[in-house]
Structure formats: C-alpha cells, structure tokens
C-alpha cells in the first residue's frame, strides 16, 4: 500500500459518511414498507411492551442491593437516578443464573458464558473444534425472542435489538456480547448504529391521508410487493425440495421469516407517532458518545413502540468484558471512574458503583420520557415492563448467585414499590422469566432448562 493508497482510503471513509448523511432523502423517498391498515392484533389499545436493558461486568453489590425488604427500603447509590420511579419499581434479590453456574462447573470462564445464559437459562453449545475457548453460543431461544414470537410476530418488527458499541468487532468474539437468541446457536446481532435504526424505522412512513394519489400509488406498490413475496416464497419451497437436510432447514427458516415480514407489512398500523428525528452523525464507538447513543436508541425504540411497530426492545451497553472508558463521559457521576471497565470490575468498588449509576441514569431518562406519554388512564411507562439487568453479579468473582434484576413500570401487572429477596439459591432466572410471561398473560410453566425452574416469583405480580 502506498502512501497515496492510505490517504485515499481515509478520504473514502469520510466521503461515505457524508453520503450516508445525505441519504435521508433517499431513505424517505423509497420506503419499502408503507403503512396501511390496522390489523386485529394491532387494534388492541395500549398494548403491554417489554424493554430490557443489559449492562455487563457486574455491579458493586453494596451499592446496588437494598439492605431491607418491603416498601420502605432505602435506594442504594447505583440505583439513585431511578428514585422518581420508586413506587413503580421492584428491586429483586437472590435470583441466580443456575444454568450459568452449572456451565461454570465445566471449567468455563465467567464472562464468556454469562451473556449466553442471561436470557436463555439453558446451556452453551460447545465451540466446534475446541480451539477457541471451547464455548459457543446459547443452545436455545432467549426470553425476549420467545415472548416476541408470541406478542410481536405479526408486527412489522418482531423486536428491536440495539446497543452501544456492541457490534461483533467491537466486543470481541464469543457469547459474551450476545444475549438474544432466536434459537439454538442463533444469536441476534444488535444494531449499534443509530442511523441504521433510523433508516429502518423511517421506511415505515405512511403517505399523507390527504393525498389520495399518493395513497393509491402506495396501494399499488404494496400489491406488487406482495406478489414478489409470494413468488420468492414459492421459489423457496421449490428449491428446498431439491436440497440436503441442513440446506433445506436453512431455506425453510428464510421462508418462515419471509411470511412473518409479509404479514407484518400487511399489519402496519396508522398511529399517531411523533416525528422521528434523524440521529445525525455520531462516532458510535467513542465512549464520550455513550450517553448520546443510548438516548438516540431509546428514543427510536420508544417511537417504534408508540407506533406499535414492535413490542419488544432490548438495549445493551457493549457486552460482558466491556473495555469502555467511563472517564470519557463528561458527567460528575463517572468523573472518578475512568479506565478500562473490565479491569476495574475485577475489584468492584465505588468506581463500579458509579458506572452502574451512570447506566441507571440512561434508563431513568428513558423511563421519564415514557412517563411523559399519556396512554389511556396512565402513561406509556405503565404499559411497558422494563427489566434492568446484568449477566454477572460481581466482576471480581464472576458469580451468578444474585443477579442485579430490577423491574420498572408495567404497573397494571406488577406490584411495584418494593424490595424483594427470595432466599439464597431458591429462585432462578428461569423463574423470573416465567413470572414475566405471566405478566404478559402467557401461561408458561417452564422456560430454559426445566430442572432449574422452581416457580413464579412470589409477590411480584399484581
């Protein structure tokens, strides 16, 4: 590579960014999924949604878990930003990841397996040749995706998985940064670029109601698109029949999702959504931009939920073994917490407490925005269950006995305003998720590895 070659490459990168910025017009002019009719599933008013927020490297337990149980507990430092929602919040203690603990007995490193276990409560697939740490992804579907299959499959977007700095290249290989799974060994790749989320959502823009020509045109486009889907569906069927078993399964998977997307297109909803603001150009891997990216992702997720494009959202701050430097964030909360997050987490202290407090602030801002939207007799927060969680308890020990789970919102189905402890080693993540299934009106008796299910968490459901 000559000097020129390097210089040209830098120039090219800049140019592409500029082009992307200028692409808004194009993205809006060529929506590929327009908004049409309200379907039966979408007509349900004020649907209940799920928002999961995941942060890695554990917490500083004395600054997280309340000392007492019941309604009159004292909120500890890391959770202080969430104090305005205390009456609609549950701080849960003693819930462990029994599956991760079991897996750790196989001699596997805490961070590497933690991500895969958090939402699946199952096993990890062995790395194929044992060369790479011997750990693969989770071997079963995660809670968010399982729920989305039940409440969101026929919506335009099944679930909206985003994060700060969580692309494959950013957080390394292996399950430590993959929490959501559509099935065995099938991690969902969260989107870390706000622009891409924007482009996806803006594609759902609907033609103005007072423009019959645009409406008619949109209807023609929709009909044509449906014919494409039907054609591809038929081709998938025809091709599958001529393939070996593994290849056939792959195309059948494609066909299943194709039909879901087609249904989603037909089910798009005309809703009163606020205008979506373009995120603008952000360096998405610069830690000083972490609060901005979090805010943008949460705002777009809120938009998607308000318009009922989706009912399930997951946001993650990097992944397990995050190397973020919180010293770059200009905020008094993390002023003393600079350095490598993972390195710091090996000796959890006030710095970890402060980092978690920063995360709580991201979430508190989101909860406040949801609470500002009136829906029926309450607010959007009342119709959203937020699960604030992490895959390990304490970065020094990489343990899984008492994971930092907090529930916020969902006031019609959850008994907020309390600190609960369930007794050491009794309840597991599996139980948390069957409890949340119940909150969504889904009567599931088991989730993940059945031998780790004890039963619904007592005292959580309203």
């Amino acid at each position: 590579m000559t000097m020129n070659r390097l210089a040209t490459r830098r120039h090219h990168q800049l140019e592409r960014r500029t082009l992307l910025k200028g692409a808004f017009g194009v993205a809006i002019a060529l929506p590929w999924l327009e908004v049409f009719q309200r379907s039966a599933v979408a007509q349900q008013t004020d649907p209940l949604r799920l928002q999961i927020f995941i942060h890695g490297n554990g917490v500083h337990p004395p600054e997280w878990f309340p000392d007492t149980v019941g309604p009159d507990y004292e909120i500890k430092n890391s959770l202080l930003p969430l104090a305005p929602f205390k009456s609609r919040m549950l701080v849960l203690g003693d819930i462990g990841s029994k599956s991760a603990r079991e897996d750790q007995k196989n001699g596997r490193s805490g961070h590497t397996i933690a991500g895969a276990h958090l939402l699946t409560c199952s096993n990890t697939v062995g790395g194929k040749n044992g060369q790479f740490d011997g750990v693969g992804y989770a071997d079963s579907i995660s809670f968010d995706q399982d729920l989305a299959n039940l409440i969101g499959k026929d919506l335009p977007i099944k679930s909206i998985n985003t994060g700060y700095h969580c692309a494959e290249a950013a957080s390394g290989q292996m399950p430590r940064s993959r929490f959501s799974y559509t099935g065995p060994d099938q991690p969902v790749t969260p989107e870390h670029r706000p622009q891409q989320v924007f482009d996806q959502l803006v594609g759902f823009a609907k033609p103005a109601a007072n423009d019959p020509a645009a409406q008619a045109n949109a209807e023609r486009i929709r009909a044509r698109r449906k014919s494409v889907f039907d054609f591809v569906d038929a081709e998938l069927k025809g091709t599958s029949a001529t393939l070996g078993l593994e290849d056939r399964a792959r195309l059948e998977e494609y066909a299943t999702h194709l039909r879901e997307v087609e249904t989603g297109v037909a089910n798009q909803v005309v809703a009163s959504c606020e205008d979506l603001t373009p995120p603008g150009m952000v360096n998405v891997i610069d830690d000083s931009n972490m609060p901005l990216v979090a805010e943008q992702m949460f705002k777009m997720t809120q938009y998607a939920m308000q318009c009922d494009l989706t009912r399930v959202g997951v946001f993650q701050v990097r992944g397990e073994q995050s190397y973020a430097d919180y010293g770059k964030i200009k905020d008094p909360i993390t002023a003393g917490a600079g350095g490598n997050h993972h390195g710091i987490s090996h000796h959890p202290n006030e710095q970890i407490g402060a980092i978690c407090k920063m995360h709580s602030k991201f979430l508190a801002d989101h909860a406040a925005r949801l609470d500002a939207v009136k829906e029926g007799s309450g607010t959007m927060l009342d119709n959203t269950i937020i699960l604030y969680t992490g895959a390990i308890e304490n970065g020094g020990q990489h343990n899984f006995n008492n994971l930092p789970h907090v529930l916020i919102g969902g006031t019609k189905v959850l008994k907020g305003g309390q600190s609960l402890k369930f007794g050491e080693g009794v309840q597991s993540n599996n139980d948390l998720f069957i409890t949340l299934f119940q909150a969504f009106g889904v009567d599931k008796q088991t989730f993940g590895r059945p031998d780790f299910v004890t039963g619904v968490l007592p005292g959580v459901l309203a």
Binding site: S227, F231, L245, V261, H398
Partner: protein
C-alpha cells in the same frame, strides 16, 4: 505421516457442510458488478456473527428475521434503480418485449452465478408479464429484479452438484467457479470465470488449480489474504488497543493499518512465506507510531525497517502487544492461535496479578505460579508470555522496569519438540515459531477453516493433512497453500445429508 486411509480409491473425504450465504461485502460486490450500483446497500445488514474465531463461518449464517427485513429493503432499492436504468437506457429505442426478457436472462446469469434453467426462465418471464398487467414495464421489471435479489439462488451459495455415492456430490463447474471466486477473491465470479465453467474448464482438479494460480496473480486477491491473516492475528480486537498516555487517538488506526499494510506488503511484494510473518522488520509507520516504536518520526507515514535488535514480525508490533497487554494474554494468544495448543479451561477467574510496589510485571505475574488457584490456568500461559517482557502494555520497548533489568528468558514445555526448550525474548520466540512445523500446520488448519467456512471435522483429515504438507514442503509459501486448498477433496466435493 499421512492418515492411513487417505487413498483416493476409497472415495472422497469430506465432512458435511451447510450452505453459506453471501456476506454483506459479497452482496455489495455483486450489485456493483451486475448493476453498477455503488450504494453498498448491504452495509445496513446485521453485522456478521463471529464463530470459532472467524466472521465467515456458515454455521453462523442462518437467515434471521432481521436479515429478511433488510434483504427486502435492499432488493427494492437496488431493483428500483436498476429497472429505471434498463428501461430508459439499456433498452432505449428497442422493443421491450424482446429486450427485457433478454436482460432478465443476462442479469439472472450473473446473480445466480449460473444460467437460469428453462423452468426458471419461464417463471421469471411470466412474473414480469403478470406484473406488467397492473403496472408500467419499469414497475414490472423492478418487481422481477426484486424477486431475483431475494431469491435463495442469489443470497445463498447453493451447491447441489452431481452425486458420486455415499452422500457425496461433485460440484458443478459453475459451483466451483463460485467457490473459487468467493474464496480467493472475496467476490462472486465474473463473466470470464463463468465462461470457463461453461466450457468445462473447471471440471478437473488440474483445471481448477490452473485457474486458482491465474487468479492469485490478480492484484485484488490481497483482500482475502489480508482479511484472513488479519482475523488470524486478531485485528478485530483492535478496539482494545490502549495507547500510551498522551498519544493522539489516531495512532490506534495507524497501528491497525500498519498490520494490514504489513500483510499486504508481505504477500504482494515480499516472500509471502510464513517465516516472514514472524521475522520481517518492514513497517509502515505514522509519526505517532514511530514515537511508540522509538524510531525517528517521519513527517508523513512511511515505510521503514524497525530496529533489528528490538523488533521482528507481527508479534512485535504495537497492534499485537497493545491489545494483548500482559504476559497471560500474550501467552494465551501464542498457544491458542499460533500453536493450536489446547488452552487450559478456566474454572474461576484468578485474581489479578497482585500490585507489588516496585516489582516488575514479571515478578507480579510470577505470583500466579505460587497461587494454586491462579497457577491452574496461568501456569501454562504466563511463561510463554514472559518472552514479551521487553515491551510494556502499549508495546513500548524497555530494557528495565522499575529500575530492574528485564528478564525475558523462559522455557516452553508443551510436548512439541520443535517449540519446546529455552527461549529468550520476543526475537527468540519469533525465530523459533518462524521455522516450526507445529506453527505451519496450525496456520494450514486455520486457512482450511476460513476457506471452507467451517472448522475441519475428522472426515476432512486428508484434506487438512495435504494442506499441511503443501505448506511445509513449499517452505511456508502461503500462495501455494491457497492454491492447494482448491485441490483437496473438501473444495470440489461436498457431503449433503439426506439428498
């Protein structure tokens, strides 16, 4: 010794493989080649999952909901532009009823990387006609191209081949063309290569080998070499790089580009031999990087030779040393990635190396040996990592630490005669690794995995053995390794269960 049963008369040896899909880069390349579309629509696709160390493994390439959502968007955007161009330019002044079907055949040939069969020709033609009844020719063509772009024959690399018994198929010439081009050039096959497939030139191992050799003379093939060696040396971990205090952040990009440059230079203008990955002093340094290396800073990034008494190949560069900043991480990388040695399972993360005021890094990490919990896993890692003690956590050279002289001597004991024994410093281990058969075999195994989009299985042992032999007997010539990988059973044959 070759595995006892590697005898072609016994049939073909290949493990089963599941179809790959085009990577986002390959998708972008396809729409650029076929439609001249420069918009890189696939950059909106979900990032590729990394599995077993590489981001191109077919096991991690299932079609998920978010892929399908974005395939639709990309197909529409590309088809819309392309249809407009064909109607207003490509077919301008011609009878559309003749021109469009002709265009569909040509485009289908390139997108599917083979001719459409009669049944497909009729179906796509009928689809165009059907859409024309409710829309303009341009709209109908857009729908038809969209269907082609969402077709499994475009998005996936479908290999049906011809059965030769025992569940094994021999790939067709067109399927071989796709493999050749995607594996060696990172792009779908061009017209010329498809023409060779049509002419039967890719039906024999000799034909494929000759073609591979010709392709590797093309300049663009360095993309694949850079991608493979870059992932092998861990460039995807570049964000972990921590620069010395006061270094401008741009230096991180310069450190990554230095390695990319190194690989490209080594392969294109250097020997392309394995040993030089560990020995070549050539470097491409920016001003900031030069400061870290402690050499005279050039005004503009420039090619230099690093001081021979301090630096050798890739293992002595800022990129590797700064992303593997302690003896445990450095040792682990050498064992896992360079020697393909089993890494001890880590039951419980050991405590960090204790802070001991005034101690050297080595003295702190040597505490691991006396702590039974830590020595369980650090016992094998740290000693190998100690050879890099002449570099601090950022890769800056040091002769002393905390006023004490650096001790970078160690002894490797892993039961491999060609690497075991005393070794002193990074230059010492680099020299040892450069000529080690264990290292050569390990790299061949990695290339097998990268080229086949899956780790080797027991049924691939003959293919892997042949690659290892080729790399070793050609003096570590990586170009010959790449060519050889088109000659082994795993390349022209596939096992398809239930076909």
């Amino acid at each position: 010794m070759p595995p006892a049963d590697c005898n072609q008369s016994a049939g073909r040896f290949v493990a089963s493989n599941v179809m790959r899909r085009l990577s986002p880069d390959q998708y972008n390349r396809a729409v650029l080649d076929v439609f001249g579309d420069t918009s890189s629509p696939a950059s909106a696709f979900p990032a590729e999952s990394r599995k077993d160390g590489y981001n191109n493994q077919s096991d991690a390439q299932a079609a998920q909901r978010e892929h399908v959502e974005r395939w639709g968007g990309a197909a529409q955007a590309v088809a819309s532009k392309a249809a407009g161009g064909i109607i207003t330019t490509g077919c301008a002044g011609q009878d559309l009823a003749a021109c469009v079907p002709d265009q569909l055949l040509k485009i289908g040939y390139r997108l599917f990387r083979r001719p459409l069969n009669t049944e497909e020709q009729q179906r796509y033609q009928a689809f165009y006609t059907q859409n024309q009844q409710t829309g303009t020719p341009e709209e109908a063509l857009e729908a038809t191209l969209m269907a082609m772009l969402m077709s499994p024959h475009f998005l996936f690399v479908i290999e049906r081949g011809a059965p030769i018994g025992n569940g094994v198929v021999q790939l067709t010439g067109y399927e071989v063309a796709s493999r050749l081009s995607l594996t060696l050039l990172g792009a779908p096959p061009d017209e010329a290569l498809l023409a060779k497939a049509a002419a039967g030139e890719l039906d024999t191992a000799e034909g494929v080998g000759a073609q591979a050799r010709a392709m590797l003379l093309e300049q663009r093939n360095t993309d694949v070499v850079r991608d493979f060696h870059g992932q092998w040396i861990g460039l995807q971990e570049a964000e972990k790089l921590k620069l010395p205090e006061g270094t401008p952040p741009e230096a991180a990009l310069a450190a990554k580009e230095e390695v990319e440059w190194f690989i490209q230079d080594w392969y294109k203008t250097g020997t392309g031999k394995l040993a030089d990955l560990f020995l070549s002093p050539r470097a491409w340094v920016s001003k900031d990087l030069a400061t870290i290396y402690g050499v005279t800073a050039p005004d503009q990034p420039a090619q230099i030779d690093l001081p021979a008494d301090q630096r050798a190949g890739l293992l002595t560069r800022v990129m590797f040393l700064g992303t593997h900043s302690n003896p445990a991480a450095r040792g682990e990388f050498i064992l896992r990635q360079v020697l393909c040695a089993p890494i001890p399972a880590v039951a419980v993360m050991p405590p960090d190396a204790p802070d001991i005021v005034g101690a050297t890094t080595r003295e702190r990490f040597e505490q691991h040996a006396t702590n039974p919990c830590a020595s369980a896993c650090h016992g094998q890692l740290d000693p190998v990592g100690f050879v890099f003690e002449n570099y601090d956590a950022h890769g800056v050279w040091r002769a002393t630490e905390n006023g004490k002289p650096i001790n970078a001597a160690t002894e490797i004991k892993m039961g491999k005669p060609d690497v075991d024994g005393p070794v002193d410093g990074a230059l010492g281990i680099s020299e040892k690794l450069a000529t080690s058969r264990t290292v050569s075999d390990c790299l061949a195994t990695h290339w097998f995995q990268f080229a086949n989009a899956r780790p080797a299985e027991p049924q691939d042992r003959c293919s892997v053995f042949q690659l290892q032999e080729k790399l070793a007997t050609t003096g570590g010539d990586v170009r010959e390794l790449l060519i050889a990988s088109t000659q082994v059973d795993s390349f022209r044959f596939a096992r398809k269960e239930g076909l």
